[in-house]
């Protein structure tokens, strides 16, 4: 096993072994699991009932009720108003740009994030600790600061000699910046957990490194990659602060959904804002579900 930071050491333990030997014993395992699940669905102990209650209230107050309010707001003026709000060419263009760029950024992140996680786990190099910290900066930085950084780097007075202000590249860069850590951080612990022996086993069975990656490593990483991708996508479609400075918010060109929502609100068109928001919500849900399905398929039929 490759040396790894102590914190993840516990996670490397193999799955607990059921009581040894008895084949009959193992036969009952599945049943026991089902039994436990069935039981917990119907009867709760007072403590776990209380816990569930608190969790649900908390979740409702913070998430469910506000989300419902958005939907109510969106439908307040009736279906035709909702439809009008969405079918405005400017809104459609904004949604198309947001979702399209988010998909692209997520695809880039799937490759780059996995690669960065791989390097961080498998390679020893100077400055590794530093890189570990730097990766999290997009998490920590207020996004408007990120916007400022991007503006000074790629804006009109760019020291690099590029001017990406008021272009779609700005949107792409801003999305990339804020979503970088997600896949790195979800893949890294899983990669640490992978036993090196599993790869050796695959090698002794005749698998090339590429085959081992495709048939053994990738399926093990798939759940982490997809959940990171889902986070990354959802973060991207909701991004505002980091792109608002550099992208110029030009209607039909660089205006994204969140900016569109903002301008609707400023124009006192709450229904329109809520309608766009509801679309983002639905898209996010679809992406999460789709990625979950993909993850299961990859893990299953590698």
């Amino acid at each position: 096993m490759t040396p790894s930071p102590g914190t993840v050491e516990e996670a490397q333990q193999p799955v607990p072994t059921p009581p040894a030997g008895a084949a009959t014993n193992a036969g009952g395992l599945g049943d026991r699991h089902r039994l436990r699940r069935a039981k917990s669905a119907t009867s709760l102990t007072p403590i776990s009932g209380l816990g569930l209650g608190i969790a649900l209230i908390w979740f409702s107050l913070l998430v469910l009720i506000p989300l419902t309010a958005v939907l109510v707001q969106a439908s307040a003026a009736g279906w035709s108003a909702y439809w009008d709000a969405l079918s405005s060419p400017q809104t459609l263009a904004a949604l198309r740009l947001t979702i399209g760029t988010a998909v692209l950024v997520t695809a880039v992140n799937v490759v780059m994030g996995t690669a960065i996680a791989w390097v961080l786990v498998r390679d020893q190099f100077r400055g590794k600790r530093l890189l570990e910290v730097v990766i999290d900066i997009p998490f920590a930085l207020p996004t408007i600061v990120a916007g400022l950084v991007l503006l000074s780097l790629y804006g009109a007075s760019s020291p690099l000699g590029v001017n990406w202000a008021n272009t779609r590249v700005a949107v792409f860069l801003a999305f990339l910046f804020v979503t970088l850590p997600f896949i790195v951080r979800t893949v890294q612990p899983v990669l640490l957990e992978l036993e090196h022996e599993v790869e050796e086993a695959a090698a002794s069975l005749g698998a090339s490194r590429l085959t081992t990656f495709r048939l053994v490593i990738l399926p093990s990483l798939a759940p982490a990659i997809t959940s990171g991708a889902a986070l990354s996508f959802c973060r991207a479609i909701s991004e505002y602060g980091s792109l608002v400075l550099l992208s110029g918010n030009l209607p039909y060109s660089t205006e994204v959904a969140s900016v569109r929502i903002m301008s609707s609100i400023e124009g006192d068109k709450l229904t329109e804002a809520a309608a766009v928001a509801s679309i983002l919500l639905v898209v996010a849900l679809i992406v999460i579900v789709v990625l979950d399905v993909i993850s299961r398929r990859v893990a299953r039929y590698a």
């Binding site: 799955v15 040894a20 050796e200 086993a201 695959a202 002794s204 069975l205 005749g206 698998a207 399926p219």
Partner: protein, 347 residues
């Protein structure tokens, strides 16, 4: 010869794991690499498998020079102590992995997997995930997976080390039977001398990167050539500057030829066996000699604590002269009677 190892050496930084090992392993043989942990036996096994690269020397498998071959091309089955199961694949998927990599037709894979699962008695678990199996079952799955590619040699690295005592005994008896059925050249690493004596056709004792002795179990037990082999393979005690097995000591309550005089200091019965600590009159400062005999013998000779006795090795007893101070043998005498086997305490 199925495996020919010549002059293989390996160091990890300053640590010498193996010093120029020469070893031939015959086709169809079941060989144990026995020795204390850190002695280099696992490294040797991994070099045979191609999972580790030797600094010097060569490895030949089935007449092919494999020294520069990667693990993928050696056609070697390897079983790991901690199973190294592919967790996302079912038992059948695990077993069929090597064949899938070899792009065999689906039908052929299914048939072969079925056959192997029957061989390791896991047919009814084909669709389970490894996490749903017990340790013993997982190791049998790993064995079937290694056998699936019809390896020229099967290598097992402490295969039963992670299992509890009963399962371990069961599995090693089963491995012996399996080997008699399949007849693939097999090398397994163990630090458990009982396991090696029980299962192997031939034992290679490895200590501190060197081969101490090679031979069939009986020969090693009866004619050890060094103190290390003598004390690693079974219980020993010291008498007259020699290491001797406690059950090879004759004991009487009256003087007889060449016998050493002493007194029974401690009388311990453990099941069918009686263990005596005999303090020798000639050297009261030396640790007492350990004598084991059956309960019936002890009763017949009316042995008990404080009784004066005479002891000597039986004719033909294996003895090794002590050259250096012998820590293992001396320590074994201070042990509780429960473990008469001096296990070097490496961890």
């Amino acid at each position: 010869m199925s495996i020919k190892i010549a002059g293989v050496g390996k160091r990890f930084a300053d640590f010498v794991a193996l010093e120029s090992i020469d070893l031939d392993i015959a086709t169809g043989e079941l060989t144990a690499l026995l020795g204390p942990s850190g002695g280099g036996k696992s490294t040797l096994l991994r070099i045979i498998a191609g999972l580790e690269v030797a600094d010097s020397g060569s490895v030949e498998i089935e007449g092919v020079n494999a020294t520069g071959l990667p693990a993928q091309k050696r056609n070697v089955g390897f079983v790991f102590q901690h199973y190294a199961a592919f967790r996302h694949l079912t038992v059948a998927g695990n077993v069929g992995f090597g064949l899938k990599v070899r792009k065999r037709p689906r039908k052929e894979i299914a048939a072969r997997v079925q056959e192997l699962l029957e061989l390791v008695h896991l047919s009814q678990f084909a669709d389970r995930l490894p996490a749903q199996l017990s340790g013993g079952q997982r190791q049998r799955m790993a064995l079937a997976r290694a056998l699936a590619i019809e390896p020229s040699v099967l290598l097992l690295d402490e295969p039963f080390g992670a299992l509890d005592a009963n399962v371990r005994k069961e599995l090693r008896a089963w491995l012996r039977r399996l080997h008699d059925e399949v007849h693939v050249t097999t090398v397994f690493v163990t630090h458990d001398q009982e396991e090696a004596l029980d299962v192997a056709d031939r034992i290679v004792v490895i200590n501190q990167g060197r081969i101490e002795q090679v031979g069939p179990p009986d020969e090693l037990y009866d004619h050890p050539t060094s103190e290390f082999v003598m004390s690693f393979l079974g219980p020993v005690t010291m008498l007259n500057g020699h290491l001797v097995r406690p059950h090879d000591l004759e004991i009487e309550t009256h003087p007889f030829d060449n016998a050493h005089r002493g007194r029974i200091e401690r009388f311990n019965r453990v099941g069918f066996e009686v263990r005596l600590h005999v303090r020798l009159t000639e050297d009261e400062t030396a640790p007492p000699a350990l004598v084991t005999l059956t309960r019936a013998e002890a009763t017949a000779k009316a042995l008990d604590t404080g009784v004066p006795v005479w002891i000597r090795p039986v004719a033909g007893a294996s003895q090794v002269r002590i050259t250096a101070p012998a820590p293992t043998s001396a320590e074994s005498l201070d042990l509780s009677p429960a473990d008469s086997v001096p296990q070097p305490t490496f961890t």
